[in-house]
């Protein structure tokens, strides 16, 4: 399985939505499932899955799937 697929699965699980619903332009608060609670949960899951530490600025910036990917790229994860 490639990293993008893994990432989409993590996002789908954290937000408890179907994987098909995960698209690049999906953003924070655009659906009821992506709220502050699931966002913090998503950050924790990403940290565990990729072995990285996501700092404050990044937590606030990761407000869409596209921006989540950009942040991961900064951590040298190929997406």
């Amino acid at each position: 399985m490639n990293t993008t697929q893994t990432l989409h699965d993590i996002i789908a699980a954290a937000l408890s939505i179907p994987a098909e619903q995960v698209t690049d332009d999906l953003s924070y608060q655009s659906i009821p499932e992506w709220d502050s609670v699931s966002h913090i949960y998503l950050i924790t899951e990403l940290e565990a899955a990729f072995g990285i530490t996501i700092d404050t600025e990044e937590v606030l910036e990761m407000s869409s799937v596209e921006q989540v990917k950009e942040t991961l790229r900064k951590h040298n994860i190929e997406i």
């Binding site: 408890s16 608060q29 609670v37 913090i40 700092d55």
Partner: protein
């Protein structure tokens, strides 16, 4: 004087639209208001914190309408059920484009084709939900006097002034959020309306741009602030922070208390309930760190006593509600009880500071939302073949479901309750038991369940 009258007297008051930065005085906002009925009638307002919602709320406060304040994110089934039970004359809900038997008017209100269906006691001004997101039709009945008196008591201890810039970062349909709105409207300066929350970059940009002087939060907000490293930064405009909506853990009280005290800022840890309009007690900031864990002292005009037998915390004051409504017929009366039974068990120290030591009522607070455990049990029973379930709260962190169905996956219960209650699935846990522990008179023994003192499943 009416609540609206008190607000209208505040000449420093400005409502800002966080999105555009536009600023409005109260007369500005009321200049082009929509036509609403001059008769007493029930309005269901599903409000977010946008400037449009705030404008409607202010207009309705200045009318003869009785307002039920509700979350726009409530599950559609629940909205429909509530509307069937109460038959409101008006509904404001921007998430829907049509509602059966109702016409959408120019004023954005859905109007009941059948006309006004309710007889409402004139003292009932606002209805607030007690049960968070379970969709129970149970409302707390509050009068205009309740709202005013509680706002004035809060203004007695919070350092709100006309230079303040206050974000509406808690929902106004929630008693704590509503109290931030009423108190700052009466005595504050600028109120920034919008739906941004503390984990959005825009919230912090707004904080700098507008110079927020206070931030309010339920325990979960403080956990998030801690997680995103709030205390590693400086906020020159910030003067004080408030916390209510459940018990904040001692470590975070210390972390935020010290951070703020070191910078000559104040941290107000507070205690209340919707049944008391919002607030019953607060911790004077100077005693916060020496009395960590206390809910403090009663607000001005309020009094605590402890029930002799159970040590239940009892409250009396002008902000005590006028009873619950569970049907439309309950709107015909408003009877103020002399004493509010908080359902919390408490002690009082020699200096008159109260501490909550337990809970008599069956609910859990998850992410700041009060969830009635009996209601969750009946939701599960209804959804899963009439089976019996027992639910308990675990330190306001999780809701634990005990069941007897072999093969019933925890993930199924999690996703079911998550959908029904609109809360993240990780808030729910499930545990299979051989049998439920019972009390001598045959009822479910929740005390035993709480201690996890249950018959083990035989493998």
């Amino acid at each position: 004087m009416s609540l609206y009258g008190l607000i209208a007297q505040n000449k420093s008051l400005r409502y800002l639209d966080a999105v555009t930065g536009d600023s409005y005085t109260l007369p500005d906002l009321m200049k082009d208001v929509w036509d609403i009925t001059e008769r007493p009638a029930l309005a269901f307002l599903y409000l977010d914190n946008s400037i449009a919602s705030v404008k409607l709320l202010l207009q309705c406060l200045n009318s003869r309408l009785t307002l039920a304040l509700l979350s726009p994110k409530l599950h559609l089934d629940y909205k429909q059920r509530l509307e069937e039970v109460y038959e409101p004359y008006y509904i404001y809900d921007v998430t829907r484009t049509e509602i059966p038997d109702r016409d959408l008017q120019d004023n954005m209100l859905f109007c009941n084709r059948k006309g006004i269906r309710n007889v409402i006691h004139p003292d009932i001004k606002v209805l607030l939900s007690t049960s968070g997101t379970t969709g129970s039709p149970k409302f707390v009945k509050l009068s205009e006097d309740n709202l005013e008196q509680n706002a004035l008591s809060i203004l007695d201890y919070l350092p709100i002034n006309s230079n303040d810039v206050t974000p509406l970062n808690l929902p106004v349909f929630y008693s704590y959020g509503l109290s931030v709105f009423t108190t700052n409207s009466i005595a504050g300066g600028q109120i920034v309306c919008g739906n941004r929350d503390v984990i959005q970059k825009e919230f912090w940009e707004d904080m700098e741009r507008y110079g927020y002087t206070s931030v309010a939060g339920v325990p979960y907000v403080y956990e998030m602030l801690h997680r995103i490293g709030f205390n590693r930064k400086e906020y020159p405009s910030l003067r004080y922070m408030t916390q209510a909506g459940g018990k904040l853990n001692g470590t975070l009280i210390k972390a935020f208390g010290e951070y703020l005290a070191d910078r000559n800022k104040q941290f107000f840890v507070m205690y209340g309930q919707t049944e008391a309009t919002a607030r019953m007690a607060y911790m004077p900031p100077q005693d916060l760190l020496t009395k960590n864990g206390s809910i403090g002292k009663p607000i001005r005009g309020g009094q605590f006593t402890l029930a002799p037998d159970t040590h239940e915390l009892l409250y009396s004051g002008p902000n005590v509600f006028g009873g619950y409504a569970t049907t439309a017929a309950d709107l015909t009366n408003f009877e103020r009880l002399p004493v509010l039974h908080t359902g919390d068990v408490a002690t009082c120290d020699e200096d008159g500071y109260y501490y909550i030591t337990g809970r008599l009522k069956r609910f859990v607070k998850l992410f700041g939302t009060r969830i009635n455990l009996d209601e969750v049990e009946s939701i599960l029973k209804q959804e899963i073949q009439g089976e019996t379930f027992a639910c308990i709260g675990v330190e306001d962190k999780h809701l634990l479901v005990f069941h007897r169905i072999t093969g019933l996956e925890e993930s199924y219960i999690r996703s079911l309750l998550s959908k029904k209650l609109g809360l993240h699935p990780t808030a729910f846990k499930a545990q299979l038991v051989e049998d439920f522990p019972l009390t001598p008179n045959g009822k479910l023994d929740y005390t035993a369940l709480q201690k996890q003192d249950i018959p083990q499943v035989q493998h």
